[in-house]
Symmetry: C2
C-alpha cells in the first residue's frame, strides 16, 4: 500500500474529517490500493451501531434523522449519517445530492453526513455502504444512521445492513399499504408514525398494528409503534431511547450477522471477478465483437457466456 | 440436451401454452439444461416488440395494460404480458402474485400473462425477464408488455429492456415529482396521464411538459403526452397507435440495442461464475468458516475475497 493511503489512514484514526472524506471517496472510486486500505482499517471496525431509517418520500425522514443525530450528539456520541439518494439511471448521479446543503446537522460538531447514490457505485450500493460504515467506524463514530428515500428494492437491501431499522410512515398517503407492498414491514424493528398531529395518524397506527397481528406464527416480539412530530422534536426522545436500548440478542441477531458477512464476502468476490472478466473481454474488442454476433444472430449469448467461463471451470471445480 | 427439453421446445413452437408455461418455469428455476434450451430457442427470438409500462402503484397500469392487450388482440396480434411484482425481501415470493386472477385478459385467447417477482429470480430479475421474452418470442408473440408496479431501481432496470417505455402518471399524487426523483422521466418514450377525467390532470400534463422542456440540450424528439381513462378505454386507441407506429430509428435505437446485449452477456457470465464460486466455497464449509473468521475479526473480508480469486487471476489476465 502506498504512503498516500497510509497517511490518510493515520489521519483518519486521529480524527481528521478531511481524511475521512477523502478515504470514502477514494474507496468508493475503487482507486488502486483500496482493498489494502480496507484491510488496514478492518481491525478498527464493528464498533458502531447501525441505524437504518426508511420510508416514503415526504415522510420527514431527513428531519427525523437530524433530530436523532442532534439528540445523540448532546448525549456525547459521535454520529455518521449515510444519506442514500435515488439516482437517475442515465446520468448516474444522485438527484438529491443537494440534500446535504439542506441538512441543519451537516455543520454540527460530531456529525458527519455523506450522500451516496443508489447507483453508479463501482462496488455496488451495498458494498459501498459497508465500506463507508467501516471507514466511519475507524474514525470513531458511535452511531451510523443510514437514511434512504423511497422504498425501492435497492434501498431495502442497503437498509438491511443496519442493526436496527426504523420505518417511517405518515398519515393520509396509504403509506402503510405501500410499505407492505414494498416488503419493508418485515424489516422494521421500530415503526415511527411521523407528522402524528395530522388527521389520520391514529388510523396509521391501527393499520400497522393490524398488520403486525397478522403474523401470528412469529414468536418474535412485535416492533413498537411510536409517534413523532419531527418538525418540533416531539416523540424524538422516546425514539432515541429505543436506539440506546441494548439490542435484543434473541431477535435475528446472530443469523443476521452471519448472513450479512456472507453477502459481503460473496459480493466482494463477485465484483472482483466480474471486473477482471470485463477487463479481459474488453481487450481486442472481444466484447464488442460478441455483441455484434448476438445482434446479427450469428451466435447466441448463452454459448458466448459458456465460452468465456470455460477456462475457469476446471479451476473452480477442482478445489 | 435431454428429450424432455426438446419435446417442450417443439411443443412451444407449435403453439402449446402449456409448453410455454413450463419452459418459463424451468428456465426461471435454472433447471439443468436451461442454457442448452435457450440456445435452441435463440434463432426464433428478436421478433417481438417489447413495450414497457411503469408508474406509481394505483396509477391504473394493469387496467391500461389489459386495454392495450385487448386492442392489439382485436387487430390480430398475439400478446405476452410480463407482470413484475414487488416482492418481500424475506419470503422471496411475489406479493401481488394474485394479480393474475384479477386480470380480465388472462383468459383472453391470444394473451399470455406471466407474473414475476422483483427478487428471488435465480438469474436475476433482468435476465429472467430477458429469458421469458425470448421464450414468448419463440412461441410467436408479436408484442410483449412488461408491466412494473412502483418505481424502484430494479423496476427501472427491467423496464429498460423494452423497446418503448410508457410512463403512467395520475393527477393529484405529486407523481410527476416522484417520477423525476426515481429517474423514470428519462426512460419514457410516451407519457400517459391516466384517470384524465380527474381534477388536476391538466396540471400533470403541464408539469411533464415543463420538465421535458428543461432538457434543452437534447435534440431528441420530446416524448408525447397522452391522456387516457383506462377504466372506460378512452384514449387507448391513440396509445395503441403509438405502439404500432414504426420505431424511430434515430432515437437511441442502435446504441441501446448494443448496451442491452452487452448487459446480458456480462450478466450471464457473472451469474455463472458466481454460482460456481458459491458451489466450490460451500464445499467443506469453506464459506461458513470464512464468515466465522470475519465475525471474530481473525481475518478481514477483503483478504478472503482476494484469496478466493487468486487462482483465477492468472487465467483471466493471460488471454
Amino acid at each position: 500500500m502506498n504512503n498516500d493511503w497510509n497517511a490518510l489512514i493515520s489521519e483518519l484514526k486521529s480524527g481528521s474529517i478531511r481524511a475521512l472524506s477523502r478515504l470514502v471517496t477514494r474507496v468508493e472510486n475503487r482507486e488502486p490500493g483500496w482493498m489494502e486500505a480496507m484491510k488496514e482499517i478492518f481491525p478498527e471496525t464493528g464498533k458502531a451501531r447501525l441505524i437504518g431509517i426508511t420510508g416514503a418520500p415526504g415522510s420527514g425522514k431527513s428531519t427525523l434523522t437530524n433530530r436523532i443525530a442532534r439528540t445523540l450528539v448532546e448525549k456525547g456520541f459521535d454520529i455518521g449519517i449515510i444519506a442514500v439518494d435515488p439516482s437517475s439511471p442515465f446520468s448516474g448521479g444522485a438527484l438529491l445530492g443537494d440534500r446535504l446543503r439542506m441538512r441543519d446537522v451537516s455543520n454540527v460538531e460530531g456529525v458527519y453526513v455523506r450522500s451516496m447514490a443508489t447507483r453508479g457505485a463501482l462496488g455496488g450500493l451495498n458494498q459501498s455502504a459497508r465500506d463507508v460504515v467501516k471507514i466511519m467506524e475507524a474514525f470513531g463514530k458511535d452511531f451510523i444512521i443510514i437514511e434512504t428515500v423511497g422504498v425501492g428494492q435497492d434501498e431495502i437491501d442497503v437498509i438491511k445492513i443496519a442493526d436496527m431499522v426504523m420505518v417511517v410512515l405518515v398519515p393520509g398517503q396509504g403509506d402503510a399499504i405501500q410499505a407492505i407492498k414494498a416488503g419493508i414491514m418485515e424489516i422494521a424493528d421500530v415503526f415511527v408514525v411521523n407528522k402524528a398531529d395530522r388527521e389520520g395518524a391514529d388510523q396509521v397506527v391501527i393499520d400497522i398494528e393490524a398488520m403486525l397481528n397478522l403474523d401470528i406464527d412469529s414468536d418474535a416480539p412485535k416492533p413498537p409503534v411510536l409517534r413523532t412530530i419531527a418538525l418540533d422534536g416531539e416523540g424524538v426522545p422516546e425514539l432515541v431511547e429505543k436506539i440506546l436500548a441494548p439490542p435484543n440478542p434473541t431477535h435475528r441477531q446472530e443469523d443476521f450477522m452471519k448472513e450479512r458477512v456472507k453477502e459481503e464476502l460473496i459480493g466482494l468476490v463477485e465484483k472482483e471477478i466480474v471486473g477482471l472478466i470485463k477487463d479481459r473481454w474488453n481487450e481486442n474488442n472481444g466484447l464488442e465483437r460478441a455483441v455484434r454476433d448476438v445482434l446479427s444472430h450469428e451466435r447466441d449469448p448463452y454459448s458466448i457466456a459458456q465460452e468465456i467461463i470455460a477456462p475457469l471451470v476446471p479451476l473452480l471445480k477442482k478445489n
